[in-house]
Amino acid sequence: MKGKIRNLGKFKSTAPSLSERKGGEATYWRNWYLVVFAFLVLQVILYYFITQHFKN
């Protein structure tokens, strides 16, 4: 068991730290919010063109 712990101690973790993970999570959600917002904007533009197209 002790040996295992020593080995783990030598192991350099590549996992992000807690603060990095929190930052990563914030970015993850920010990207989601942007996608939802951008998709709404694109739809409004598309619907505007549909309205104009079928008017004539």
Partner: protein, 550 residues
Amino acid sequence: MSGIDWIVLGVALFGIILYGIYKSRTTKNLDGYFLSNRGLPWYIVLLSIMGTQASAITFLSAPGQAFTDGMRFVQYYFGLPLAMIIICIVFVPIFRRLKVYTAYEFLEERFDLKTRTLTSLLFQLSRGLSTGISIYAPSLILSSLLGWNIYWTNIIMGGLLIIYTVTGGARAVAHTQKLQLLIIIAGMAIAGYMVVHLLPANIGFADALRIGGKSGKMNVITNGMTANGFDWKDRYNIWSGLIGGLFLALSYFGTDQSQVGRYLTAKDNKESKLGLLINGLVKVPMQFLILMIGVLVFSFYQYNKAPIYFNDVQAAAAKSTVKKDSLENLEKQYTLVAADNDSGKTTIRNQYKAVLKRALPDEDVNDTNYIFLRFVIDHLPQGLIGLLIAVIFLAAWGSIAAALNALASCTVVDIHKKFINKNLTPKMDYRISKLYTLAWGVFSIIVAESASNLGNSLIETVNILGSLFYGVILGIFLAAFWIRQIKGHAVFYSALISEVLVILIYKADMISFLWLNVIGALLVVIIAAMFQPFFRAGRQDKSAIPVLEG
């Protein structure tokens, strides 16, 4: 309805009941019964959120709305994606961190018990009544078109789902909603395909839209402007949709327990948020496609004679009055108008409705909700009629089941365990929760049966009823989240005053009902901020608990 239709309808309804009972295994405590042990994945949460929002009237009314008024109804949903973002940032983290059962528990933490109780009661009153109407409205349409007895239709519409809602709680509700929504989507997609298929051979999908467009049905974006400036009474335009719709969706998804209860069933914060955000992505296109079916039906009727009035039963009732000759005269004139003469047909249809209103002054002579189902019954093949009637039942069941679960959770958690018996064991909690679910189910059916005696104008009245309460409830939550200085007494009295003012504004008929949500919310916040200096903060200061964090 043919034998095949009855078989399809029966299999769909009993299949859902059996599936609900099969999925009823849950731990016998409040967490298991009302929140499915907070263990559902995001896609079940998503389907549950969508199944709760989409009632029978959504599928009956939306195509009819596009048929009569065009596609602009879709703008009503433009605020929804924005509301999903705000709810993910503000509401979800706080509700989940406090591990609440109902949204209103948070208000006791933030303000006090009386504010929590008032808000919960406002919700229970409006949701209890509107659930009764959610049963009555589709029952009325089905019974009129198919000649069914309205009382029995109400009992089947509101009664059968009680079986799995009582036995399985939130878990059964969520899993049945998943299956219901899949059947509904399949049914509507087949209906859309069939409308195009029934058009003349030389008319395709794009042509059908062009025909609709020529008659102004492809008016997806409108700005509400008239020669005299902005029309505040115009219900559906981009501004009322974005602003009024945002407030309505914020109230509905952030403060209505029938929705809050859905995303609280998720495994964690992430699953709740994903369910809500993907709902924000798919809801507007889904409504767009449902409305498009209405435009296609409109084009179909340019080549096939449309009924002068889509509610036969009401027309027959009117013909038993002194207006019989006038109505029959208009029907004769209508048969002489060419199928593609839209303005001529509309003029006669409007005259017909005016005569109907004089013949039946207490009844609503709006046949918008009957258009789609009339088309289904008159023109779709056997089997498909049964499927689409099943779609109406299942859509109703999805929203009613979630409402019953939410109403019971509020009565148990906000009222029973607070004022009647605080010391219940988990087993007693479970038993009492089942009893309250049953009681709310019976109450809703009684409301539906009583509505039958009051005429169908009640439907619109009770739809508007939601907007009378939602704004005020949202205002209480907005004050809780964003204005640290506002405390319990100020928000409680401002909510009472705002509610009276909202009702007065509605009575004065100054503005379209969507704006009442904005006005109610703003009134609560402004009046509470004005009142606050007159109340000493003292011991009721609990602002350390929630106010906004990531």
